[in-house]
């Protein structure tokens, strides 16, 4: 099992975020984490990274209890945009992903440079890896960050809303890249998304976080009117448009539903 979460709960600042979450993800699966704003999707990733402690239950990644600094896990946090005036090369950022946690001045190392180059090529960023990160477009920055997350030889990628604030073309390109990495390099992908539609064709499994609960299953099992109504505790309807897109609508706009607020 790539991820095994058992009856896990998380509280932040004394507030329960979600509880009794159980979840299993097999190696090589592509998992989408969905849910309204503030429901605890990012917290779920952070719990699996060992950054946020569990208040109950257990979390294992590749059979071992979660811990920070696991080389097998790569992470892309939410909404990272580098300032236009940040004068650090994209390639140095990828290199930091490899050995940024070590003390001392890095010595020139052919193997490490080769590894960084290989990852940059994998994400198709070779043309602009030598330019300052602040000068790159949102899509280009996202590719560099994926390379950074993978460079330790990670077998799992945790991405927090990687498609947000990208235009439609870049959304398509980045989700295709993630899919390729998942299928060709057998990397398990956990992707937090606002909108499932750009990734719906290749999602193996959906994790839905809402109302203090975490629900897991195949997309067609989870994204259904009855299931989501039960999860939200309020009437919700799932509609399918003529081109196959899924739309979740409710009396209460799901986006404004926030269990911590109520």
């Amino acid at each position: 099992m790539a991820v095994a979460l058992e009856r896990a709960s998380v509280s932040l600042g004394g507030q329960l975020v979600w509880r009794d979450a159980s979840l299993e993800v097999a190696a090589g699966e592509f998992v989408a984490i969905l849910g309204p704003n503030g429901a605890g999707k990012s917290t779920l990733l952070k719990a699996l990274l060992g950054v946020v402690p569990l208040s109950a239950g257990t979390a294992r990644v590749f059979g071992r209890t979660v811990r920070r600094g696991n080389d097998q896990v790569g992470y892309l946090p939410q909404r990272r945009r580098f300032d236009p005036d940040l004068r650090i090369r994209a390639l140095d950022l990828v290199r930091l992903g490899l050995d940024g946690d070590r003390l001392g001045v890095p010595l020139p190392s052919r193997t490490k440079e080769a590894k960084v180059g290989e990852m940059i090529e994998l994400v198709g960023a070779t043309a602009y890896a030598g330019r300052p990160i602040g000068e790159l477009s949102g899509g280009e920055q996202q590719r560099i960050l994926i390379a950074q997350a993978l460079v330790t030889g990670a077998r799992m990628l945790m991405l927090d809303e990687p498609l947000e604030s990208l235009d439609l073309n870049n959304q398509q390109a980045i989700s295709d890249l993630i899919r390729t990495i998942c299928q060709r390099h057998l990397v398990t992908v956990l992707l937090v998304a606002h909108d499932i539609n750009p990734i719906l064709p290749f999602v193996d499994r959906v994790v839905y976080v809402a109302g203090g609960h975490v629900l897991c299953g195949r997309p067609e099992e989870v994204i259904r009117t009855e299931t989501l109504t039960r999860l939200y505790g309020a009437p919700v309807e799932v509609l399918r448009t003529s081109d196959g897109r899924l739309v979740v609508v409710g009396q209460h706009e799901p986006v404004s539903y926030h269990p911590v607020d109520h």
């Binding site: 920070r68 600094g69 992470y75 650090i88 930091l96 992903g97 940024g100 946690d101 001045v105 000068e135």
Partner: protein, 277 residues
């Protein structure tokens, strides 16, 4: 006078050695100050250094004890309360104007208490006294300068990681809080050091300008750090030589040289194509 005669003078040798060590530390730490956009933390600490050093003198302590003590204490306070010394914040501006006001009080009390003192001690704190270093300042300044460089280089890589990418660094097991606190202490120590070289008011000239030049010249972090330290070092040494021959204040030459380098690098960035960087 020849270079040999210049170097035969004790106060010039002291200035070259101590000023050089201070410059290397200021350039290196300054690179991170600019990268992390904490320029105004160093400004605020400069104000504290002025008041702290005079307060130290007034309390009968050594000037060094007052500078280092006050800077480190305030840096740790900034770290604890989590605020960044941003210049635009009215509250912070008012507080640090008041801190300077207290410094003026100390200066006035100290000057009138010392019979025959002309108040030049305040000038040397504000504008530096690199040519009039006392023996203890030479020893302490050089050792602390080198030690600051060593510690900064030791933690430079994780510090770079945390500065650029705090969330990922945390997930990768970097102790972000401890590093941030350590960095603030390094800034405090460097400010206290720089006060002796260029003075509390001109700290930017040694800590910010060389780093800004370096970042204009290169987007490679390690090269940038080396350049920043070297530019600060060159500004101090050339400034000392000019000051010796032309006998205008050394701090003026140091800040003017650094500023000239900044203007040139800024022009160069506009003129040269992106590929050559």
């Amino acid at each position: 006078m020849s270079i040999g005669q210049m170097l035969a003078l004790d106060f010039m040798r002291n200035a070259f050695v101590t000023g050089g060590c201070i410059a290397l530390a200021a350039g290196l730490v300054g690179y991170f100050v600019v990268l992390r956009n904490e320029v105004f933390t160093s400004d605020a600490l400069g104000h504290v250094a002025f008041t702290g050093s005079l307060g130290g003198l007034l309390a009968g302590l050594n000037l060094l004890a007052g500078v280092f003590g006050s800077c480190i204490a305030v840096a740790l306070a900034i770290g604890t309360f989590g605020g960044r010394g941003r210049g635009r914040d009215v509250a912070i501006g008012t507080i640090f104007a008041w801190v300077l006001g207290i410094g003026v009080l100390f200066l006035s009390v100290y000057t009138s208490a010392q019979s025959g003192a002309t108040g030049s001690v305040g000038i040397s704190v504000l504008f530096g006294s690199i040519l009039g270093l006392q023996p203890i300042q030479v020893v302490v300044g050089s050792i602390i300068g080198i030690a600051t460089c060593a510690v900064t280089l030791l933690v430079a890589r994780p510090l770079l990681f945390v500065s650029l990418d705090p969330d990922v660094a945390l997930a990768r097991g970097v102790p972000t809080r401890a590093l941030t606190a350590l960095f603030l202490v390094l800034v405090a120590v460097t400010v206290a050091e720089s006060v002796q070289a260029v003075g509390a008011l001109l700290i930017f000239g040694l800590m910010v300008t060389p780093a800004a030049v370096a970042q204009n010249l290169s987007a490679r972090p390690w090269l940038g750090m080396a350049l920043s330290a070297l530019i600060a070092f060159a500004a101090v040494w050339i400034g000392l030589v000019l000051s010796f021959y032309i006998s205008y204040p050394a701090s003026f030459f140091i800040t003017a040289l650094a500023f000239a380098a900044y203007l040139v690098s800024q022009l160069g960035r506009r003129v040269l194509p992106a590929a050559s960087r």
